[in-house]
Each structure stands twice: as C-alpha cells, then as structure tokens.
C-alpha cells in the first residue's frame, strides 16, 4: 500500500513537471529551428540548430537597447529603493522611536493598494512633471510602489536584531547613522537580498508601467519591447521564440542562483502578482 502510494506520488510529480517544462522546452528548442523545421518537427530537439533567429531578434528586434534600458532602470530603482527603505525600516523598528509603529503601519498599508488603481492620477502627475516618455518616470514609480512591501520585509527582519547592539554601538561613540550602517545593516544581508530579488523580478518583468509611460523605441524596456511580437511574426514563430529566450534567461538564472532568498520572500507573505 505504502509503496503503491509513493509510485502514484512520483507519477503525479513527473506529469506536472512535464506540464510546466514542456511549453518552455518547446519554445527554447524552437528558437534554434527554421520556420520550416518548426512546422514539420515542432516538438523535438532541433536536428541542425540555427542561430540566426537570435541574431535577427537581437539586432533587428532592438533587444540590445531594451536590455540596456532594463538594466539601467532596475539598477537605479533598486539602489534608491534599498537606500531609502533600509534606513526607514531601521528607524521605525527602534524601540525608542515614538512614531515608529505609526509610521510602520502607514508604510505597510500600501501593500494592499493595487498599482492599477492609481494609474490615472499617476499618469497626470508624470505629465505635469514632463516625465511621460522619460525613463525616469519608471524609476519614480518603482521606488514609490515597491516601498510598502520592502519596508514590511525589512522591518520584520530588523526587529529580530536585539536593540542592545545599537546601545553598544553608541557607547563605542557611534552616531545613529554609523550604528545603522556599520553595525545593524551588515547583519541584515539576507533580508536585503530577499528584497532585492523580489523587486528586481518585479521591475524586470513589469509591463504595465512601461506601457503607460514609455513611447519611444530607444527607451523601451525588454518586456515592453517583447510585446511587439504579439500578433506579429505569427508565420515566423522561431524569431519570437529567440526573443523570448533572450528575455527570460537572465531572470531564470537569477532565480536559480538566489532561489532560497526568493522562497523566503514568498513565505514572508510578499506578493507581487
């Protein structure tokens, strides 16, 4: 009975793994096929792999530009976000800080606000600031809309660090800022990594804000650029596949390397999706 159950369990696990992997594998291998081979032989490993789909998508599909923009937006947004959210989380979790808990609640309240619902005022504000079709509009939106979740996760971690440590730092002559930078922050690397990876994936994959704010080809992000394949090239799936593979490989690599932090981010109750 027990043995039978285990066999059934593994069969279910393998079937579902195939359900997840086969679409990804078909697209991955399809990117190395000619349209002719894809039509005749869609679900197997390419017989003679071709690489010009990648070339085509990379050069004519403007992928290089999209990559540069996405890397710029994610790096700048994350740098600002981490700087602002760590120091704020440090402050709101200090036991001596009178307003701490109130400010914490104020930040965390933002978790339940869907970004879609502030689309019109945000768009109006950006157009007043002359930031529509400007890459900095994305930086502003990401820093402000990722703040709530970041403060929540970081504060959860900061709270677990005994406050005797800041007292010890003060006795050693540290200022409040030095205590934060030199003593407390280095202890919070795991939480910072979790916040980094969750927000990096969100920013990298976001379609909504670029759709709203970006028009010009030269400042598009990867996901926005990718959306042009939708409904086009339907006769030439392999080029679209190559673009999809190039856009997805970085996030998949990041996920596999930092899976632990990603999972702990999920179980911290974090949501973006």
């Amino acid at each position: 009975m027990k043995k039978k159950l285990i066999v059934v369990q593994y069969i279910l696990l393998i079937i579902f793994a195939l359900v997840i992997l086969s679409p990804l594998a078909i697209v991955f291998f399809g990117a190395f096929k000619t349209p002719g081979e894809l039509a005749n032989n869609p679900y197997s490993i390419p017989k003679e792999p071709v690489f010009n789909n990648f070339h085509e998508a990379f050069i004519r599909g403007n992928m290089l530009v999209y990559f540069k923009n996405t890397i710029f937006v994610s790096t700048v947004s994350l740098a600002i976000l981490i700087a602002l959210s760590t120091i704020a989380s440090y402050a709101v979790t200090r036991p001596g800080f009178k307003l701490g808990n109130k400010l914490y609640m104020y930040f965390v309240f933002g978790i339940i606000i869907p970004a879609q619902s502030i689309m019109i005022p945000t768009y109006y504000m950006m157009s007043k600031l002359r930031l529509v079709n400007n890459i900095w509009s994305l930086v502003i939106v990401y820093v402000s809309s990722c703040m709530a979740m970041s403060v929540f996760i970081l504060s959860g971690f900061f709270r677990t660090i005994p406050s005797e440590l800041d007292d010890a730092a003060f006795i050693d002559g540290c200022s409040e800022f030095q205590a934060f930078i030199k003593v407390i922050l280095p202890l919070c690397k795991p939480a910072v990594t979790t916040v980094l990876i969750l927000n990096l994936l969100f920013i990298w994959n976001d379609f909504y804000n670029p759709l709203l704010f970006i028009r010009s080809e030269e400042i598009k992000t990867i996901v926005l650029g990718l959306s042009k394949y939708m409904g086009r090239y339907l006769t030439n799936y392999p080029i679209m596949f190559a673009a999809v593979v190039m856009a997805s490989v970085p996030v998949i690599v990041i996920f596999i390397v930092l899976q632990k932090q990603f999972v702990s981010g999920i179980t911290a109750g974090s949501v973006k999706g």
Binding site: I6, Q9, L12, L13, A17, I20, L21, S22, P23, L24, I26, V27, G30, L84, I87, A88, A91, F97, L103, V108, F109, I112, I113, P114, Q116, S117, I118, M119, I120, P121, T122, Y124, M125, V141, A148, V151, G156, T160, E176, L201, N205, F207, Y208, V223, L226, S227, M230, G231, Y237, M240, A243, V244, V251, F255, Q259, F262, V263, I266, G269, V271
Partner: protein
C-alpha cells in the same frame, strides 16, 4: 519638567528627531507618488474630465450612478472578473495543495520538483502570453496536437479565439504560473504542524483521510487563508495577461474584458478620466477589503517572531 531630567529628555527627543529624519526620504517618495495618487483618484472619480486643462467639471457621484445603473460594459467586466477569479483560485489552490502534501516531507528529488514548479513565477506576463499563444494555436499549437495524439481529438478548441472559453484559457495560464507559488506557502504551513499530532492521530487509529480532515486541514488554515487572499487579489486585478493575449480592439477582447482592462480603455482610449477613475475605485475597494484580511494575517504572524 525638572532640571535633572532635562538633559535626558533632550537627548531622547533629539534621537526621535534623528530617527524621523531617517524615515523622511522614504516617507516623502511614498507619500507623494503613492498615497497622494490614491486621494487624487478619489477626487478625479468625481469629475467629468478628458485629461486636458479645460473642460473639468465637478459632477459628484454621477460617474458611479452611471456605472451602476446603465453601464452594461461595467457589469460584464465585473462578471468576467468574478468568473476568472473563481476559476483560477480553484484550480491553482487545489493543485498547489496536492503537490504541497506530496513534497513537504522532503521526499527524494523534492528540491528539483520545487524548483521546476516555481520556474514560471519568474517569467513576465508578456513572455507567458507569447509562449501560450503558440501553445494554444489552433493549427500548430501543442495543446491541440497533444489532445489529438492521446485520442481526445474531440476536445480540441480554438482556445483563444472562441468567445466562450477564451477567458478560461487565459485563466489556465494564470493558474499554471502560480501553482508553485501557492504550493510554497502551503508547504511552509504544513511544516508548522507538529509531527506529534500525526502520531497521536495514528495511535487513535486515524487513516490517511481522517488525518487530513482532522489534523492537517484545520491546522493549515492560516496558510490556506493567506493563499486564498493572495490568489484572489492577484487574479481579481488581472490586467497584463489579458491585455497582451487579447489586445483591445481585437476580435474577442469583449469576451475577456475585466475591470482593469475596461478602466484602461475608458481612460486612455475614450479619454474619460473621471469615469475611468470611478471604475478604478471600485477595483480598489474590492482589493482593499480582501487585502485587510491579508494585513491582519501578516501582523498576527509578526507576533510569533
């Protein structure tokens, strides 16, 4: 205040000021670009406004009255939201629970399966839309090919072209993407149940199903609630997947219109900012009601730290 405590008080209030200054940059960015827009949205929903500088008219609750009394598109979209959410949540959570129950005991290969199941979570909705538009292609797609090859050819569909099923075809993609995500939360919940309870139930002669019904399921309640909240809010506010797979103006976009896509269309295609804002407030209210449960859960978890 006595003189002796003066110095102490001053240093304490000085520290309070320093700490407040620490929160200030985050506070300003978050308030100006996230909290103020919420208030702005409420105000705009009371206007008749095309987004320009002139022609702004305060109309009170007129947009809401119009929405609830005469707008068929609003009710259609709301109904689609409800059907989509019910469909996605049911499939996503039942599958997630099944695989969590199998995987939480760290059986051989559990890390491999967890990694595979989580993989789609990190892909963007545009990537998923592109992959699945090929998978669902009625002629070349894998789904119809597979159905035919296992003898279920009669179940072949025009998955994204048939108005009756397109919404659910999109919903399947959504569930496919997030089953692993919900599974991780279920696993975390299952690991909090003490082994001794199972042993006690076994001594009492409980079978597998009775153990599940009397031990696992009740003790899994926090994880279940959290999963229901997350998947309900996540699928209720769906925009990207539907917008990309069935683009506005396309042949079947009416059949997949949800509140978020309707709001986008009314605001940016029709230029009715006030009305669009009113729709977004309804979306906001629904999400916030569910979200308060989420915040409560998150806070109650903190106590345990």
């Amino acid at each position: 205040m006595t003189k002796q405590s003066d110095g102490f008080q001053r240093s304490k209030s000085k520290r309070n000021i320093t700490l407040f200054l620490f929160t200030l940059p985050a506070l300003i960015v978050y308030t100006v670009f996230f909290v103020l827009p919420i208030l702005g949205d409420i105000y705009i929903s009371l206007l008749e406004w095309n987004g320009g500088l002139i022609d702004v008219k305060f109309v009170g609750l007129k947009n809401y009255i119009k929405m609830f009394t005469e707008d068929k598109a609003f009710y259609a979209a709301l109904l689609h939201n409800v059907m989509y959410t019910a469909f996605v949540v049911t499939i996503q959570l039942s599958m997630a629970l099944l695989f969590a129950l199998i995987l939480f005991r760290n059986i051989r290969g559990h890390n491999f399966f967890k990694t595979v199941y989580l993989l789609p979570v990190v892909l963007s909705s545009v990537t998923l839309a592109l992959i699945w538009s090929y998978m669902y292609d009625p002629l070349q797609g894998f789904v119809n090919y597979f159905l035919k090859s296992i003898g279920l050819g009669s179940f072949q569909q025009n998955w994204l072209g048939d108005k009756k099923i397109a919404l659910f075809s999109v919903g399947l993609i959504n569930a496919w993407q997030y089953i692993g995500y919900s599974m991780i939360i279920f696993i975390a919940g299952l690991l909090t149940i003490p082994e001794s309870l199972y042993e006690a139930a076994e001594i009492d002669g409980a079978g597998m199903f009775s153990k599940f019904a009397n031990v696992t399921f009740p003790l899994l309640a926090p994880a279940t609630t959290m999963n229901i909240v997350l998947s309900t809010t996540g699928s209720f506010k769906v925009f990207e997947l539907i917008y990309v797979i069935t683009p506005p103006g396309g042949p079947i976009s009416d059949a997949t219109e949800v509140l978020a896509t309707l709001m986008y269309k009314v605001g940016f295609t029709y230029g009715e900012m006030g009305y669009s804002a009113a729709i977004s407030i309804i979306l906001l209210i629904v999400i916030m009601i569910i979200g308060f449960v989420q915040l409560k859960l998150l806070r109650s978890r903190e106590v345990k730290y």
